[in-house]
């Protein structure tokens, strides 16, 4: 039966990622400041981005340069001549009721096309084809009270109107929500290595996804407001479509809206209600000629990208390929790593701490590394404390949480909380004595069976809140038990 085969393999996902060029100082078509986050609403505006009658757009050439560099990084073909189109539709977030964008039909030429990116899924390399990378303007930000359905009014903040936005479109070559997430992570890392976009900023990277399950029609899911949400939204949508199919209901071709609060997709419009965007050339802007010398100049500005960096990390520091992959999937992580190594710590040790405990803490705290307060200097200090025998690895894991949250130095935390390792033989011996006296049954067992020793060690660790030097404890307990045995 066909339905039984409905597995991961029948799934086709294509993404349309929208990434703000957050490194630009000004908007795409006017000289308003692009640094709108946290600013009083509607203060970074001018006649152009408000769509005041008579105003005209003037292209920010730096946005074109950033986009060309992104195109290089994604192995795209850069057009030698490109121009803008108007995408016409009415919506309250639009200042002109058309968006200045680019188009690949009706004679339009997007800035770049036909690229690819390799991602690593379960230790395998997979090629994802990029259809196009183009520039467009971000619409204004709509603010609802509650959700889109229930809000009695909508507020509009035009500070975001006209921010330079990249649109990066993939083929439907992704075959699971996880792959989609990994791809977007890679994309983000590439953009951050290029220094054109900071994916950690709220709303800086958003996406729409097209998804179909075996033979089914394509459903578009809009309003996925961060790359983190992608996996969740796509998992929901796959489950929904499978559920329909299992009930014998056919999936409809439609556009759905991801409701982040309720974590469901809701129908926005069906195929019949699709917008006709009436694309046509934006004649207020002249075509952009991209000369060879311009391309050469930009090519020379290309920084090291994640793939090259991964290979370098393997070669330079002897890291396992997997570690290098994880570290370079996030520019800030790779930077953090290299900084720690520069401060003199062993690459392997640093990479282990980052990849297991630091990442776990960040995940639990739902933080980006860039949002965390910990500095490379502090992680290095923490590793030194372990190496110098001041704290145990276990304590280190405990204080890491605090370091990430508060940015306090590990030494300070250790001192404040009295977490210095107990390495004094006398002190430990007396504690061992106490533990054995308090747990006579267990002590008896331990005398007969070595494995039971661990219970006593555990008790001791409990008593010292993990501060006891585990190696020394192990050694001393055994000595103590041998002594007891000899007395019997």
């Amino acid at each position: 039966m066909q339905t039984k085969k409905l597995g991961i393999n029948g799934i086709k996902i294509g993404l349309e990622a929208h990434c703000q060029l957050t490194a630009l100082k000004t908007k795409l078509f006017c000289s308003c400041s692009a640094n709108y986050r946290g600013k009083e609403p509607n203060t970074l505006v001018c006649p152009v981005c408000l769509g005041i009658p008579g105003s005209l757009p003037v292209l920010n050439l730096r946005a074109v340069e950033s986009t060309i560099m992104v195109a290089f990084a994604l192995n795209c073909k850069v057009s030698r001549r490109t121009f803008f189109f108007r995408k016409n539709y009415y919506y309250p977030d639009m200042s002109k009721n058309f968006q200045i964008s680019q188009y690949d039909r009706a004679g339009g030429i997007p800035l770049s096309t036909d690229g690819n990116v390799y991602i690593h899924v379960d230790h395998k390399r997979k090629k994802i084809n990029i259809r196009r990378v183009h520039i467009e303007e971000d619409p204004a930000r709509l603010v609802y009270t509650g959700t889109i359905d229930t809000s009695p009014y909508t507020l509009i903040d035009y500070n975001r109107s006209g921010i330079a936005l990249l649109e990066i479109v993939t083929d439907p070559g992704l075959s699971s929500p996880r792959e989609a997430r990994i791809f977007l992570q890679k994309l983000r890392s590439i953009l951050e290595h290029l220094g054109v976009s900071d994916g950690g900023l709220e709303g800086a990277m958003r996406c729409d996804a097209n998804i179909s399950i075996v033979g089914g029609p394509r459903v578009e899911v809009k309003n996925i407001s961060s790359f983190k949400e992608v996996e969740r939204a796509l998992n929901f949508e796959i489950a929904r479509q499978k559920d329909l199919v299992s009930k014998g209901i056919s999936v409809e071709r439609e556009t759905r809206h991801w409701d982040e609060t309720r974590r469901v997709t809701i129908s926005l419009r069906t195929k019949e209600e699709e917008h006709d965007y009436r694309y046509f050339p934006e004649l207020d802007l002249i075509p952009i000629n991209i000369t060879k010398s311009w391309l050469t100049q930009l090519q020379s500005k290309m920084p090291e990208l994640p793939d090259a960096r991964r290979i370098r990390l393997i070669k330079q520091y002897g890291l396992p390929s997997y570690n290098a992959e994880v570290l370079t999937s996030d520019k800030s992580l790779a930077d953090f790593f290299e900084r720690c190594v520069k401060l003199g710590k062993a690459p392997k040790t640093v990479s282990n701490w980052l990849m297991t405990d630091v990442l776990r803490c960040l995940h639990d705290l739902n933080l980006e590394l860039t949002e965390a307060k910990i500095t490379p200097e502090q992680l290095v200090e923490m590793i030194s404390l372990i190496e110098d025998g001041v704290i145990s690895g276990k304590i280190a894991k405990m204080i890491l949480w605090d370091m990430i949250k508060t940015g306090k130095s590990p030494r300070l935390i250790v001192e404040e909380r009295g977490l210095v390792k107990i390495s004094s033989r006398e002190e430990l011996e007396s504690l061992i004595k106490q533990v054995c006296e308090e747990n006579p049954k267990a002590t008896e067992d331990a005398l007969k069976d070595e494995k039971a020793i661990h219970f006593l060690i555990g008790k001791l660790m409990q008593k010292t809140r993990g501060r006891a030097d585990p190696e020394l404890v192990d050694k001393l307990i055994r000595t103590h038990l041998t002594l007891m045995k000899s007395r019997i």
Partner: protein, 488 residues
């Protein structure tokens, strides 16, 4: 009898003011006196700015008394078409949609004439959003032709042309998308020039069809036309379609000499529908030029036959997008009812805020850009446009200028064509090809038939304004029509 100050040319006026013979205050006052006398019959203005004007006049007078440098248009009254933004002065586009719109900024041309010390006396009536040939589609009221009040002043810059002709101002600015400067100038026996696309900044001109339109001067004689053009023609980085050329003083090219000038006379300008009286006046004019030393030849521009449909398709398509921003959210007319959602509120604001002709063009333009029709209409119109441009290019390889009537008929009665859009559109047959081809064109008074003005159109190749001005100047110097005054 000495000419009343309001009937002086700018050239005479500036001389009198700068030599202290008269004061700017007196002159501006006399213009407002004239306005008070005739405005009720003509309806040239939507907004008068007497207070600001008198203040500016006093400033200019003070500068002259102090011996400070004054601008090229020192103290000269100027009327501005109401689709050109003036900071702090209501700019309505003759539409209910913008009847409360006060621009927060100056159009580049407004800024330039202010810098040259011109005195803005008010904003002139026009067809709603410049869509019309008679100024009858104004939301406020039609403008009447000063030569015969029952007749139209032409359009869409009817207010500017009538005001110049009747002495309500000395200079005026209009805008020309398909004849909107030349038509009313011709109907009112004024001089009107449509500059080459890209010569004058469109920044601050409220768009109707942005790939076609230009701001240009309407004046009482050719010298003033050249003078005003010299002030407004300049490269503007705020308009990407503005061409970067050195600034010129066009008055320097005026010479009473057409010796050796080669004139092409396209037979398409004299086709069916052209009034015999117009044909007769034009041939008299051409023979006059021949007598002055020019030579002429009849030629054919075969693709001109398609210029009207191509023009209307392109203009309406662009208009449908350009006028999408009027939704009542940020400025302008708004239907504010709690029972409407955003989409209904947009529709309702547009239904009431726009007049019939504007809605007709938006609907037709939307249709032409729709999926499935784009190739058949919009793209085809663009191809025709290219063919027309080539016809002109070819003609200009042989001829210095082309000459034909500006309007195929003398000014018609108010109400005669307003309910017959096609008959109205037909009146643009001789003016739209120039916009499609991106050439420059000037209309000058060529004769009168039964007291009604007939205009001659002199067309030049792109950026050859100096030549059409020179031919126009020579014609004007050797004909008496400039000195005629309406009897009002």
């Amino acid at each position: 009898m000495a000419t009343q100050p309001c009937f002086l040319t700018a050239k005479e006026y500036i001389r009198k003011i700068t030599t202290g013979e008269v004061s700017a205050m007196d002159c501006v006052s006399s213009v407002f006196e004239r306005i008070r006398k005739v405005e009720d019959h003509v309806h040239s203005f939507i907004t008068l700015t007497e207070e600001v004007a008198l203040k500016k006049a006093r400033e200019v007078d003070n500068k002259i008394i102090r011996g400070d440098r004054v601008g090229k248009l020192a103290g000269v009254p100027i009327a501005i078409k109401d689709n050109i933004c003036t900071e702090g002065i209501r700019t309505t586009c003759s539409s209910q949609m913008l009847c409360n719109f006060i621009p927060p900024y100056d159009a580049t041309v407004s800024q330039r004439i202010k810098e040259e010390d011109a005195v803005i006396i008010g904003k002139t009536n026009m067809d709603e959003f410049a869509m019309g040939t008679s100024t009858e589609s104004s939301y406020f009221r039609p403008t009447h032709n000063p030569w015969e009040l029952s007749r139209v002043a032409g359009g869409s810059s009817g207010g500017s042309a009538a005001a110049v002709a009747v002495g309500e101002t000395i200079l005026a600015l209009g805008s020309d998308t398909g004849g909107s400067i030349r038509c009313p100038a011709s109907f009112c026996s004024a001089v009107g020039l449509k500059p080459t696309y890209g010569l004058v900044s469109r920044f601050g001109l409220i768009a109707y069809a942005n790939s076609l339109e230009q701001i240009g001067p309407i004046t009482r004689d050719v010298y003033d036309c050249a003078l005003l053009l010299s002030v407004i023609a300049c490269y503007d980085p705020k308009d990407s379609t503005s061409v970067n050329m050195p600034q010129k003083d066009y008055t320097r090219f005026l010479a009473n000499d057409v010796q050796g000038i080669k004139v092409g006379v396209p037979k398409e300008f004299f086709g069916v529908g052209t009034d015999p009286s117009v044909i007769k006046c034009l041939w008299n004019g051409i023979e006059k030029l021949e007598a002055l030393g020019a030579s002429y030849e009849e030629i054919s521009l075969p693709n001109l036959a398609y210029s009207l449909p191509a023009y209307y398709l392109i203009a309406m398509s662009e208009a449908s997008s350009n006028l999408a921003r009027y939704d009542g959210v940020r400025y302008g007319f708004r239907v504010d009812r709690d029972d409407l959602d955003w989409s209904e509120a947009f529709s309702e604001s547009r239904r009431i805020g726009f007049g019939t002709e504007v809605k007709r063009r938006i609907i037709l333009g939307t249709y032409a850009l729709s999926a499935g029709y784009y190739d058949r209409y919009y793209l085809k119109a663009l191809k025709v446009r290219t063919l027309i441009r080539r016809d002109f290019e070819k003609a200009f390889r042989k001829f210095d200028v082309l000459i034909g009537p500006t309007m195929p008929i003398p000014p018609f009665e108010i109400g005669e064509k307003i309910n017959d859009p096609l008959a109205m559109y037909m009146c643009d047959i001789d003016t739209v090809p120039i916009n499609l081809a991106g050439c420059c064109g000037i209309t000058i008074p060529c004769n009168f038939v039964n007291g009604l003005p007939i205009g001659m159109q002199i067309i030049g190749k792109p950026f050859d304004e100096e030549k059409i001005l020179r031919v126009a100047y020579a014609f004007e110097q050797n004909t008496p029509f400039k000195n005629n005054r309406p009897s009002l």
